[in-house]
Symmetry: C2
Subunit: 243 residues, 2 copies
DNA sequence: GTGCAGAAATTGGTTGGACCATTGAACCAC
DNA sequence: GTGGTTCAATGGTCCAACCAATTTCTGCAC
């Protein structure tokens, strides 16, 4: 018996605007890339001030749902549905060691689970797709003699996608941003990620063999190597007192 | 050879406002709960319009960094540092069975990892805090003869907090929203969550015993019971065609 | 002095109107 | 066609009010 009484909202005009706009998007079946009505038109139609419309759109922009281009218009960046779940994550300290370790722990949890699910649920086509990404990655590794974060990422993305759960990909994609930024400032470890290379294929082998526990174990090993690299880098640079 | 040409930003006033405000927060060493300057004062000090200040604050509010109370002021809700990483996630699909199962798979991954980390890292005070929440939950279970989602949630929250990784709490908190919404429409299963009750104490026992693998295993069992309840409910109601 | 109701000040929320900066399309000279 | 120019549309910013919720102060009754 939860006595749940949602606080009444006497003023929530911008939320109301977003709800109306979400309904509009659904009714018009607007997809990513398409243009929304002008702020002025929205203000007039919804009988609110243009300023209120702007605050509402600012919310959506902050959520990455929408992109505003001055002089051009406002465009959808992602699918919008009336019942969306928003989870804004903020990680204190962008590039410091603790922050990266935090994301890595999340990655360990998700990557292991996704690999296991993938071993259970991936279809033949999806497994073939993963292998293709793996081949590309290995080729890039040979020709450029080192890990390539783009190709690496595509491999992992393929695994997440084949897990049958879209949330994995979305959550990790957001975190990948952070790692990407980090890899551009390698902090002393020149061959960052190098040690993780062989585990990509072992993960794929366990998935292809429909061995969830094996896939999970290999994924854990991969993350462990990245963790080691990270610790090594932190020890090199004494990053801890940064800022 | 990356031909990287970032688009130049001639106007980014609200971002500048946020940067300045973040600097202010750091300089004044403001923590969560503390009040920050009035919109009017900020506008005057930063030599921008109050409207611009509002757009900037709307961004932070959307990120959950700040809470605005009409007539009272704007208050910090979380620690703020100039170099934060924001990753707003929006997950499509609200209340249907597939969506809930998706979140549950994420929960399984995170809850298991968090319990294990907690067994490794939690201090004595944190373990005591978890036990306190557990006692409250068990008491509520006895007196009201059933699971209480609020007390249940507080227990899990304590575990996440003691994991030493703030991201766990943030991610799960967002998903809890979804489950809470769901529990208000119990879909036929009257004693939803009932089966998960005993595992709360077994998880705690393994944490207190500093047994990461045991804690992970018990957490997995708990999620499995919730998963069963969910499947049972879906079978009852044939929810699949909802919306 | 104490307690409390009501006034006043404070603060975020909203409005309407104005102007600026950028964009993109229509148009024109070459 | 090519390369400018003009011009309307659109998002970005500003201002000056007023509204609504909250907090603080004031003054009266006791």
């Amino acid at each position: 018996m939860t006595d749940f009484l949602p606080p009444i909202q006497t003023t929530a005009r911008d939320d109301a605007v977003l709800k109306a706009l979400a309904g509009f998007v659904r009714q018009e079946a607007l997809g990513p890339g398409e243009k929304l009505p002008t702020e002025r038109i929205l203000a007039e139609r919804l009988k609110v001030s243009r300023n209120t419309v702007r605050e509402a759109l600012t919310r959506w922009e902050g959520l990455g749902l929408v992109e505003r281009r001055q002089g051009s218009g406002t465009y959808l960046k992602a699918a919008v549905s009336p019942d969306m779940l928003h989870m804004p994550l903020t990680l204190a300290g962008g590039n410091d060691f603790a922050g990266l370790m935090s994301t890595l722990e999340i990655r360990r949890a998700l990557e292991a689970e996704a690999a296991a699910l993938c071993a259970i649920r991936a279809g033949k086509a999806e497994i073939a797709q993963i292998e293709r990404k793996l081949d590309i990655m290995e080729e890039a590794f040979r020709t450029r003699a080192g890990m390539s974060s783009d190709e690496d990422w595509e491999f992992h993305q393929a695994v997440f996608r084949a897990s049958g759960n879209p949330l994995f990909e979305q959550i990790i994609a957001a975190m990948y941003e952070m790692f990407h930024r980090f890899w551009e400032h390698p902090l002393g470890v020149r061959d960052f990620g190098h040690a993780s290379f062989p585990y990509h294929r072992t993960i794929f082998d366990r998935i292809a063999a429909r061995d969830p526990d094996g896939a999970r174990a290999e994924a854990l090993k991969l993350i462990a190597t990245v963790e080691d690299d990270l610790k090594r880098g932190a020890a090199n640079l004494k990053l801890s007192d940064r800022r």
